[in-house]
């Protein structure tokens, strides 16, 4: 294969390279000035062998020849560029609400979050494959309700939704604290009430009302 290619081989190579459609032996004969089909076939055979190990192959389909990317490299033609992004805070909240309350409508999500949810947020969760529409609620307006997918459980390493920690567990883990602490801190710094605020600190026992 290392030998220099012959003139005819080169001509066939260039012709098929530049051709817009696959070409049969006859078309090649005509194009290359009335050579014998046997010569063309020979050149095609040489070329086919020469390209066999390469990134591009010369292939015959239904008697017509063309170059194409080697099958094992086909993935290079359509490259998927993966861009890893962290879920935004808003999307994480919406995902959590769906996971805890599913099936849940968008209006319900908004009322739980206490803020409007942009359409894009749900789109992102569906694009990620973690959330899917799960029918409609049979109430006026028949809103779409959303639920999590098996992929959601997979990605977050959950065997089932029941593995999600309950409210009590969240509290025990201090996950319900942040906002209370912020309030407390704010009150503590109001000078006049410093002593009284101390007593106001919502101690865990008083909080029960919160969670229910």
């Amino acid at each position: 294969m290392s030998d220099e290619p012959g003139t005819l081989e080169r001509a066939v190579e260039a012709t098929l390279f530049a051709a817009e459609t696959p070409m049969g032996v006859e078309a090649l004969c005509a194009h290359l000035g009335g050579l014998a089909p046997g010569e063309i076939r020979e050149a095609l055979g040489l070329l086919e062998a020469r390209y066999r190990s390469r990134g591009v192959h010369l292939v015959e389909r239904g008697g017509r020849w063309h170059f194409e990317t080697a099958p094992d490299l086909a993935h290079l033609l359509r490259r998927e560029k993966e861009q890893v992004r962290r879920l935004s805070r808003a999307a994480t909240e919406v995902l959590a609400i769906i996971a805890y309350h599913e099936p849940v409508s968008r209006a319900e999500i908004e009322s739980i979050r206490g803020v409007q949810t942009s359409a894009g947020t749900l789109d992102v969760l569906m694009e990620a494959g973690w959330v899917k529409p799960a029918g409609r609620r049979e109430v006026p307006g028949r809103p779409v309700v959303y639920a999590t997918t098996p992929d959601f459980l997979d990605h977050f390493g959950l065997a089932s939704r029941r593995d999600l920690p309950g409210i009590d567990e969240l509290r025990a883990a201090g996950l319900l604290d942040p906002v209370d602490e912020a309030m407390e801190a704010a009150m503590r710094f109001e000078p006049d009430e410093a002593d009284e605020a101390q007593d106001d600190t919502p101690d865990p026992d008083d909080d029960e009302n919160l969670a229910d």
Binding site: L77, E80, K81, R113, L170, L176, V179, D180
Partner: protein, 262 residues
């Protein structure tokens, strides 16, 4: 490569032969400089060696012949002719009578311009003579094409989800707590309490004495505010009087004797 020479050699050759062709030839030049360059090339010497005087003569001859044939000449050809005629006469004059710039400078400038135009014309010819895509070399006729599908892979983790839920709950729930369950003494109950306590005695009582003794500090603050407003209200109704020795001094309240029965 020699393609570059042809277009502008043809026109003057034809022009030399008969008058009609001259007209066509003039039409074929892109302005006087173009014509001058052609004439210069016909001297078949390097443009750096060209005789400007001979060139001027040739140009003027062309223009005169065109004029004799009553051919319409574009203004810029005539302007160039006038200028070249001036240049020629200046070059023939003794040096002393010459103005600035000297005719040599003018001639040199013309020559430099012709050199530059000639160089570019030759370069254009060589450029066009290269192996050009679509004429001499060809690209792949039917490339498969490369597609880049951009895909976003989202990442998150269980802790973030749980934490987010905790924050949603913590953010929305406390509002109910702080507003609904706050221990308060309403104005109505304060009015009732203050007026009933005032009914017991005719002595001055400090406003502090009206507050519920074992209330939580939060309730006490509410009771203080409500009791103060209640005291003002009773005073307004003429059933009690209020006195205070000075700013921030203890506030004292006493039932009005006449109002006892009201």
């Amino acid at each position: 490569m020699n393609a570059s020479d042809q277009p502008f050699m043809l026109a003057p050759e034809a022009g030399r032969q008969d008058a009609d062709a001259l007209y066509l030839a003039l039409d074929g030049w892109e302005g006087p400089l173009d014509l001058l360059l052609d004439l210069a090339r016909r001297q078949k010497v390097d443009l750096r060696q060209i005789s400007i005087l001979a060139l001027v003569d040739q140009y003027l001859t062309y223009i005169e012949r065109a004029g004799a044939l009553k051919l319409e000449l574009a203004a810029d050809y005539l302007v160039m002719a006038a200028w070249l005629a001036y240049l020629k006469s200046a070059m023939l004059l003794p040096k002393a009578e010459q103005e600035d710039p000297s005719p040599e400078e003018l001639a040199l400038r013309l020559q430099l311009r012709l050199q530059r135009l000639g160089a570019m014309r030759e370069a254009a010819g060589r450029l066009m003579g290269r192996d050009r895509i679509g004429r001499d070399v060809f690209l792949r006729g039917a490339p498969e094409g490369l597609r880049t599908d951009r895909k976003t892979v989202w990442r998150s983790d269980l802790f973030s989800v749980i934490q987010a839920y905790g924050q949603v709950k913590a953010r929305t729930a406390p509002r109910i707590y702080h507003v609904a369950n706050r221990p308060v003494m309403t104005l109505d109950s304060a009015l009732e309490r203050v007026s009933s306590m005032l009914g017991v005695t005719l002595e001055w009582m400090e406003i502090r004495d009206f507050l519920p003794p074992h209330a939580s500090p939060a309730l006490k603050r509410s009771a203080l505010a409500s009791s103060f407003v209640a005291a003002l209200e009773l005073t307004k109704r003429g059933r009690a009087e209020i006195e205070q020795d000075g700013a921030f001094a203890p506030l004292r309240i006493r039932r009005l004797r006449d109002a006892a029965g009201a």
